[in-house]
Symmetry: C2
Subunit: 233 residues, 2 copies
């Protein structure tokens, strides 16, 4: 019953159109994708893609919020990014071992559209412009991965928390007080810190009146100071 509230019908032609590379496809090509798709609804916490499994489909994320994460050593996960409606997920397994190298799980009720990888590869072969844009989208993600490496290896706690707050503010929610759907534990997994450390830095930022925190509602009061913390580490 609860599920049915979130069950949606998805038409690829409108669904994918949100994502830049797909605007380079012809109507026929979109039709092909449309005929090779599967739509699935997820409850919070459910796994959408499991690291190590075979890559049979690509994912066009239709609605909700999910996390892409690396399963690391003794139960420690590292969240690489969050995805929301309109995001298209292509992993590095494509053209290589055709396996998933990250896991994806739903944070809120979510709907994902699975596109057969063979259909995708065929279109990549046919349509240069699309291939180029697809390539571009992958590289943009790679650039942000490089920034993430710097953040995680060279910045200390305040810098990393600043990075994740700016990410949530700029990319994910886009509003200024914003209400996060993720837990403190998730914030820890995004910054490679312990959840206790996350809480301590949030409190420190609050004491310095850079942010206001009340449970899951966060407001960045001094955006300039926050960007400064992000830069100096």
């Amino acid at each position: 019953m609860l599920m049915s509230q979130h069950r949606v019908d998805c038409d690829c032609i409108h669904c994918l159109a949100k994502n830049p590379p797909f605007s380079y496809l012809t109507h026929d090509e979109l039709e092909i994708l449309d005929q090779n798709k599967t739509i699935v609804n997820y409850n919070p916490g459910e796994i959408i893609v499991k690291q190590g499994s075979s890559m049979t489909h690509l994912i066009s994320f239709y609605s909700g919020l999910a996390k892409i994460y690396l399963e690391g050593i003794n139960g420690h996960n590292l969240i690489l990014q969050l995805i929301k409606g309109g995001d298209f997920v292509i992993g590095p397994g494509i053209y290589t071992d055709f396996k998933h190298h990250t896991s994806i799980s739903a944070i809120t009720h979510s709907t994902a559209c699975f596109i057969d990888i063979h259909a995708y590869l065929e279109i990549m072969n046919q349509n240069h412009a699309f291939a180029k844009q697809s390539h571009k989208a992958e590289n943009i993600k790679k650039i942000s991965a490089l920034e993430k490496i710097v953040s995680l290896t060279q910045k200390q706690m305040p810098g990393r928390i600043a990075d994740v707050l700016l990410y949530l503010h700029d990319i994910i929610y886009g509003t200024n007080p914003f209400k996060i759907d993720i837990s403190r534990r998730d914030l820890a997994d995004m910054t490679a810190l312990s959840k206790e450390s996350v809480i301590r830095i949030l409190k420190q930022f609050k004491d310095e009146e850079i942010i206001d925190v009340k449970g899951s509602k966060i407001e960045i009061l001094d955006l300039a100071a926050m960007r400064h913390f992000s830069e100096v580490g």
Copy 2:
């Protein structure tokens, strides 16, 4: 005078042939690359590519040893990988902002072949098989970047040193004892540790008779123990 010892003449057709994707090119396509190349020799320490500069050429690394690194916060660098003869370097700037997102500098006397990016892009457009293989090569690098993130964020000192020693043993030198061309400082920049910590762990491994170290000569005595350190972190 010293330079001239290392100056080499490079014929793309033989030079690039070492790298998998290029075996998919026709003779004519290789000719195009050959006519759009520039060969440059470097002394140890010299910068080959500077992070932030425009990406006008791609690099086919002909001989020597060089490091690809990220310039981080207050002078801290992070070495992402080493390259040796036969390696082809494609950065994430391609199809995006056409800038270099990493720096490359020579460790030993090195020779690099610069290939005009327009020639490369044209061939990417013409030759699907090559484009696919090129894409594959990029994704393989991306997978190892993910492993690197896990290593740097979730392993502690012995695990990270084990990773870098195994990298040098398995990928770069391929022999056991091997003589490293890089400094302790470089080992530190590869593991995001201080050079003192690197030295301490090397000594600890030596005391435990897992390795033997004499200056730049390193022998892995107990490979199984080393791989174990790498896995458990």
